[in-house]
């Protein structure tokens, strides 16, 4: 039997590893800001609440290419933030895999915030009052009551964010282009193969790889959600 079918080509394995790396970094870096934003939106009463809500949801509604182009304007070599980053820390994200992670993170951020916000809103505020009466200030109440009770939703948000980051396309290609080995994730590799005449077989293989990855993500989500409920 020929096992070559199951062996990944260099392009495929690079795209797969890059996709996982980008999605992991994007989710890891957006998690804390997402928890913070979700808590502010769920419990905070302040001027600009509606504005923050719009700003958070915006990347979900805008065409991804617009978000990618906006990132290019801000974080590109000549962008205000990109320029400052390079000048002060020597860090550049344009046309780098870290830039792909930034694009994926920005795109998955609204989904994560929504999921976490819903789970914060589901925590009974009367339990938080009970904690306050037992001597817990706002921060302790958050750490000991609100956060643990919202954990299943936070796990779900992590998986949702990962899934969104794995499949991100529009913002990534607009911001960091499609460079094999650097910014070419699975979906970008699939797009490239689609442009090649007779590339159907390669497209089919990448498609199968994406399906396997997505199935794994769903299984992990189920596992984590169950684990979260029993915590």
């Amino acid at each position: 039997m020929n096992y070559d079918f199951f062996r990944l080509s260099i392009v495929e394995s690079e795209a797969l590893i890059l996709s996982l790396k980008v999605a992991a970094l994007a989710t890891f870096c957006s998690l804390l800001p997402a928890i913070f934003c979700a808590y502010l939106l769920a419990r905070g009463r302040f001027w600009g609440h509606a504005l923050l809500n719009v700003a958070v949801v915006l990347p979900l509604v805008l065409p991804p290419v617009v978000t990618g182009y906006a990132l290019l304007l801000l974080f590109g070599k000549h962008g205000s933030i990109g320029h400052a980053l390079e000048a002060c820390c020597g860090v550049s994200v344009s046309f780098r895999w870290t830039g792909a992670a930034l694009a994926a993170g920005v795109m998955s951020f609204p989904l994560m915030v929504r999921s976490i916000r819903l789970s914060f809103e589901a925590v009974d505020p009367r339990l938080e009052q009970a904690a306050e009466m037992l001597g817990a200030d706002r921060i302790r109440t958050f750490c000991y009551i609100t956060l643990p009770l919202a954990l299943p939703g936070i796990f779900a948000a992590i998986v949702l964010g990962m899934a969104k980051a794995l499949g991100e396309f529009g913002a990534t290609i607009a911001f960091v282009a499609n460079i094999p080995g650097e910014t070419q994730t699975l979906s970008l590799a699939l797009y490239s193969e689609l442009q090649v005449p007779n590339g159907e077989f390669a497209v089919f293989r990448l498609m199968m790889l994406s399906i396997i990855l997505a199935t794994g993500a769903i299984a992990l989500a189920e596992f984590l959600a169950r684990k979260g409920k029993t915590l």
């Binding site: 009367r126 339990l127 904690a131 009466m133 037992l134 817990a136 000991y144 915590l231």
Partner: protein, 219 residues
């Protein structure tokens, strides 16, 4: 104990209460909807009110001096009508919550005070139990023990028998009395049931639309 209270709630409805008492246990009765729970919440600082509140000489709120302590600094033990036990913690961890977050001590009930409260409330065999597996009376006893554990200045009891079935009411009252014998804490006992209040307290007040009226129960 001494309590001096002159609090006004402006919204969502008007409620004014003025009270001065030196009794250890004060009862508060009134029809449902008269604002008994709201008054307790005003004392606890959970509902913003205006006025002055002094318990045992400690000023918890005085608008003229711009003092208004947040709930977590008032040292008030509050046993809510709906118990409000933390569903992700077991009985022992619920009981020890205030000690655990304040002093960073473990969540095990090892101190003498904890052991005596647990014994007085008959909670010894329930310590490792999940909150979802408790009866109404048991939940109320855990809520009571949890409120007492932090050695509060005063205990607020809001209809402790409301969610307890008829067969467990007498038992729960017995436990509350036992707790009072063990560690006589000043308390405000709220109920719609005059009999219950006259059994548990020495001085009682009726909450009426125009404030608190002292009442005397016939023996």
């Amino acid at each position: 104990m001494s309590i001096e209270l002159d609090l006004t709630l402006m919204a969502p409805f008007h409620l004014h209460a003025r009270l001065q008492s030196k009794h250890t246990a004060i009862g508060l009765v009134g029809k449902s909807g008269s604002g008994k729970t709201t008054l307790l919440n005003m004392i606890a600082g959970l509902v913003p009110a205006r006025g002055r509140l002094v318990i045992n000489g400690v000023v918890l709120q005085d608008d003229s001096q711009h003092i208004n302590l947040p709930p977590y600094r008032r040292h008030i033990g509050y046993a809510f009508q709906d118990a409000r036990l933390f569903p992700h913690l077991n009985v022992e961890h619920n009981l020890m919550f205030s000690q655990w977050i304040k002093f960073g001590t473990g969540r095990k009930a090892t101190s003498n005070q904890a052991k005596s409260i647990i014994a007085a409330l008959g909670l010894g065999r329930l310590l490792s139990r999940n909150i979802g597996h408790l009866s109404g009376g048991e939940k109320q006893r855990v809520a009571l023990g949890r409120a007492m554990m932090g050695k509060p200045m005063i205990l607020l009891l809001d209809e402790p028998l409301a969610n307890v079935d008829a067969t467990q009411k007498a038992e729960t009252l017995f436990y509350i009395e036992k707790l009072q014998d063990l560690e006589p804490l000043p308390m405000i006992y709220v109920s719609h049931d005059n009999k219950e209040v006259s059994r548990m307290t020495r001085a009682s007040f009726m909450l009426e639309p125009d404030g608190l009226l002292p009442i005397k129960f016939s023996e």
